[in-house]
Point group: C2
Chain length 670, copies 2
């Protein structure tokens, strides 16, 4: 009796070498750097896994995606399906934040191979009596591991296949019932298991979907001109919540250095009452674990965080690992800084520029272990005070190995911590930070302005391997960046860029109230820095100033919340819009996004020209949704409530920027 | 004193974790499946290695490619150069067949960072006296490890930088001499080393460049019609050598089974004098380690191999792991086969097709270890008899893990063994065999006939990761495949396909004399099988039959040997040929190949139309060779000896297939 008729059912995943494990499993995706880094998903989301799977010869293969949350011993399994060219695919759903492991198991299914051959032989009119005997042996092989009821059924099938009743035996052998039973009890004696257990990091929902609002607390004093406090800011919360933001991000809230303090408009000498840049962290009142006394106390900060949470808003802190010359560390840990031959401490430089109010940390210090522990403890300190989201300042100027270690070890105890990398730097460095564990990344969106640039950039983010680990966060402005496009002050431009940020990316943010008030004057012509930047002074904002775009922002944030299609970034398709037959429109941009189950489909059409109406013919990709080219369907503009009936794939669109520079259509295909 | 001024020179490669190793090294190429499989090169060749290398912040990075042959303890080093977008590159040369290991080391060069800053500060007119002191400390740091002479020079530099002579100190600090000295003694205290030692397999030269000639020895009896012998074949060797072939490949030379022997034209019943298919291996005279008695003895085979070697020709054997029902293994190792419920052995099937003269081996046998050892020993048996090259029949129907093990373990003792995979199957399986160790792979060339198909296929082979591990071997025909394109019998078609095979791929082969005699009659219309196939009968060939293309083959093989550009496959660029301005020519195909040092440049222009003259304008890519668009240069057609003067990039070409359907130009750029 040949071994093919022997049976050993293995439910565990073994990696012991056995030359009979003939099925090849390779090119598993996602797999980052051979499994060293992890793909990302969010709570309640899923992970789609693909692999190349094949066997020598003509055997029929079956495959399962195996997964388990960290800590669980048992693997759960989903059957994988072939999607062409020996590629297989399956997805699994995840629960709460933490880690999930996954791998792939596959085996030749000798019963199915046999069945395929039987069918062909029967079709060719060949004698199959001997084949039926062979098949019966496979069926008998499954009975010892089958349930009592199924074993009984299997035995009957085997008896029939052993009998002289060829016609009925063939019918049984080719029937659905036997396949169903045999699939319940697969013979995995020689199953192959992929040689790695890969890992996906599951993060809290706001890692995947959220609208960020950045503001400077000190500009919100109840008495105009007086330094704002956390208590003052509690007043602001309903307004921010009303606009539909999910995350409030505060620039550093720590004591600000006095030495070399910068004055208004980044001047080298500060006036006595200049508040200084809050990124010059630390003075005699403390460093990264202290609160600037004029903002209030740590307890008041905690109350502010609590109030925000009640409104569904998370407070994100800015973690900037740099020090003012007055930071306590300079005295307590001089070995964490570089010192110059004259005994003075080395300030930040980008020759010939000098940043004398800022000391960089020396990540090559011999005392690096203690440095790492202290830096990590800053995150833990604020986590203990209710903060779960951190925006990290210039992480690309700190050692990459530190981030890998710090983020992983913080997440061990606090898997719901979110890290946003503020790294406006070269592509490879940004990708590495994302692989190292950052939940989200600031992006080049700010400088992708025309249709080609935007489409190319989104395609790179959502179609390259970046899609597995780098979640972009789109910011039309920041306190550091007022893009030239805004300098004209055209209110419509502010709406266009907000629509793009909020609908292209599930994560976006703005620096307010500068944005909704359409602040647009640069410090000098052609510069990206704001005039009278809030970074160096206390501002007074009139939130109701005429021309503000708060209503538009509110509406768009509500549309985001009501439409799951906009709560993800990677499933996006750019659409053809023609200005004349065969002539692509250069200013109208269209894209479609959808929820995982196709239950929600959003079509955005943006007019990139803030000054003139544009129109054209848009091709809606009905084939993506398995509809015929002449399908009749309806779209509803969620911005205006207007509803249109569309016939077939090509449809007329026009966008008048003087009314609203975009349509956000909900597509109702049936 | 800060650690940046401390110095520890490490010449060994350490993988100990140190958080100060700030440089990131990733995306090293070639790296196959995380290093599990090896890239390939040939004796005397080289390997180009690339990696993404960068550091946090603004430090200047340096990097070295480290390599060593297996067995050597010391790493050799080549500086890597940045090629843009944080990608770095270097190459190393390899010696004799075996394995080479390689990895990458990189570090922030604080001296170069300092120098860059100094230059900018000097340009900006800043006071640099303190910077010079800092620089002096770097220079002093290098003296303890410098040669005595260099240490003296370094001390003088340091003294100058400590002095008040700022002007000369700046000149010294920015000068070439100090950089040269400092680069000799790099501070690698915090160098990063890539976390894998990757491996490249170095094979003998014929793995990378060779023309194969396949023939059936039994058709070469001195007395026409009598079974040919190895001694008869020795007569044939000067003819094959004269045509310029490097490798003679013989179909299986083993005893042929009698049971179910196939007759002429694959008929199910053989006549008493039918010789049978030599792929039905084994009878009472022996199996895979025996020689068919009618061919001669093993000693005579060895003499044949020796004669061939004297002419520079290697003899390749066909290893087909399958058995006739008469093979001794069926009795000796019944457990290596599948048995049917009626006690008969399972023959090969592809339902409803039956191959009753062939028994497949069961790679799921419980006795798989002994099976593997025996199969491997077949290679070793023939290696002991002088064979270094094996063409393996249908490797994709044998277990992949077997090939990985067998090829690796054979190469441990015999690194000059070449394996050609005859797997005409799906792309992923072919790629896996190549990764598993096969030196070369049969390819889809046979079915890539028009210009688009050929260019797309070559682009895939030479530009995708396949280029690192899969070397194609291009065969216009085989005993199994007479492509429909040949059925007309047009002699020119045979020349066209031979030129394509021989110039597109450095490895190509043909089944002769069928090919050079332009045998073209299929067994039935539309079938790819030869009529009266030599697989089932002894043929008599008249090598001098009118219309043969031996002269053309001879000429083209000589051109291949004389031009290094044609001795490699991956460096190929397809050229634009226009039939009218802006209109790409559909039948004229042009491509340029070059030797590694650009010393040899070959431009091939093929007319894919065997019946009519075609002409057009070809754009020669002068920019590839850093020549201006209006460069004046000469080309010489190596097929005719004609020489043309060309002016600039666009040039007129015409190819008259009635004379010769291709030009093979040697390009002389200066």
């Amino acid at each position: 009796m040949n071994t093919v008729f022997l049976r050993k059912v293995s439910s565990s995943i073994s990696r012991e070498f056995d030359g009979r494990q003939r099925v090849v499993i390779e090119n598993v995706s996602p797999e980052l750097d051979g499994g060293k880094y992890h793909a990302k998903t969010v709570e309640g989301g899923s992970l789609a896994v693909e692999a190349d799977i094949f066997v020598d010869g003509a055997d029929t293969v079956r495959a399962e995606l195996c997964y388990r949350p960290e800590g669980a011993d048992e693997w759960q399994r989903v059957p994988m399906e072939p999607i062409g060219n020996d590629r297989w695919k399956a997805s699994f759903s995840v629960g709460t934040p933490g880690k999930y492991f996954y791998t792939v198991e596959a085996w030749p299914d000798h019963f199915l191979t046999w069945k395929k051959g039987l069918a062909k032989k029967v079709d060719a009119g060949q004698d199959v009596s001997l084949d039926l005997q062979t098949g019966a042996l496979f069926v008998e092989g499954a009975t010892p591991v089958a349930s009592k009821a199924d074993a009984g059924k299997l035995k009957k099938f085997a008896a029939l296949m052993h009998s002289d009743d060829i016609q009925n035996a063939v019918a049984a052998g080719l029937g659905e019932e036997l396949v169903r039973l045999m699939e319940l009890y697969p013979d995995k004696a020689h199953a192959s298991v992929y040689d790695k257990q890969l890992c996906v990091t599951v993060e809290q929902r706001k890692a995947g979907f959220g609208a960020w609002y950045e503001f400077f607390p000190r500009s919100w004093g109840e008495v105009p001109g007086r330094h704002g406090t956390f208590n003052d800011c509690r007043r602001l919360l309903p307004m921010v919540a009303g606009m539909g933001f999910d995350i409030i991000y505060l620039p550093p809230i720590h004591p600000i250095g006095y030495a070399k303090r910068k004055g208004r408009n980044n001047s080298l000498s500060a006036a006595p009452d200049d508040p200084g840049s809050c990124w010059a962290i630390g003075n005699r009142d403390g460093g990264h674990k202290a609160v600037h006394p004029e903002l209030g106390t740590i307890e008041e900060f905690e109350e502010f965080v609590g109030d925000a949470e009640c409104l569904g808003i998370s407070v994100a802190l800015d973690i900037a690992f740099q020090c003012s010359p007055d930071h306590p560390w300079v005295q307590e840990h001089p070995q964490w800084f570089k010192w110059r031959p004259d005994g003075t401490v080395q300030f930040a430089e980008n020759p010939p520029k000098r940043y004398e109010d800022i000391l960089p940390i020396d990540f090559e210090t011999a005392d690096w272990q203690n440095l790492w522990i202290e830096l990590k403890s800053i995150f833990l300190f604020w986590i203990d005070r209710g903060v779960k989201i951190f925006r990290v300042d210039n992480p690309h100027t700190k050692a990459f190995p530190f981030w890998e270690w710090a983020i992983a070890s913080i997440r061990e105890d606090h898997p719901d911590t979110v890290f946003l990398a503020e790294a406006f730097t070269r592509p490879k460095l940004m990708a590495r930070l994302a692989k190292a564990g950052y939940s989200q990344s600031y992006s080049y969106f700010t400088w992708r302005n025309n249709k080609n640039e935007l489409q190319e950039y989104l395609t790179e983010l959502t179609s390259s391997p970046l899609k597995h680990f780098m979640r972009p966060n789109f910011w039309p402005n920041t306190p550091d960046i007022l893009h030239e496009e805004f300098h004209s002050g055209n209110r419509t431009t502010f709406i266009i860029r907000m629509v793009l940020a909020a609908t292209l990316s599930s994560n976006y943010g703005m620096y307010g109230p500068a944005y909704e008030l359409c602040e647009h004057v640069p410090v000098a012509e052609g510069k990206e820095e704001y005039l009278d930047s809030e970074k160096y002074e206390i501002k007074q904002w009139d939130l109701d100033r005429p021309g503000n775009i708060r209503a538009e922002i509110t509406r768009i944030n509500r549309i985001r919340k009501e439409n799951p299609a906009l709560q993800q970034t990677n499933d996006i398709a750019f659409l053809r819009i023609d200005s004349a037959p065969g002539q692509e429109h250069g200013l109208l941009m269209g894209y479609v996004k959808r929820s995982e189950d196709d239950g929600n489909i959003i079509l955005v059409v943006v007019n990139l020209d803030p000054n003139a109406m544009q129109n054209g013919w848009l091709r809606f990709p009905l084939e993506m949704f398995r509809k015929p080219h002449d399908h009749h369907f309806a779209v509803e503009d969620l911005l205006t409530g207007n509803r249109y009936e569309w016939n077939g794939e090509w449809n007329y669109v026009e966008v008048n920027p003087h009314a609203m520079p975009a349509h956000i259509f909900r597509v109702m295909l049936s």
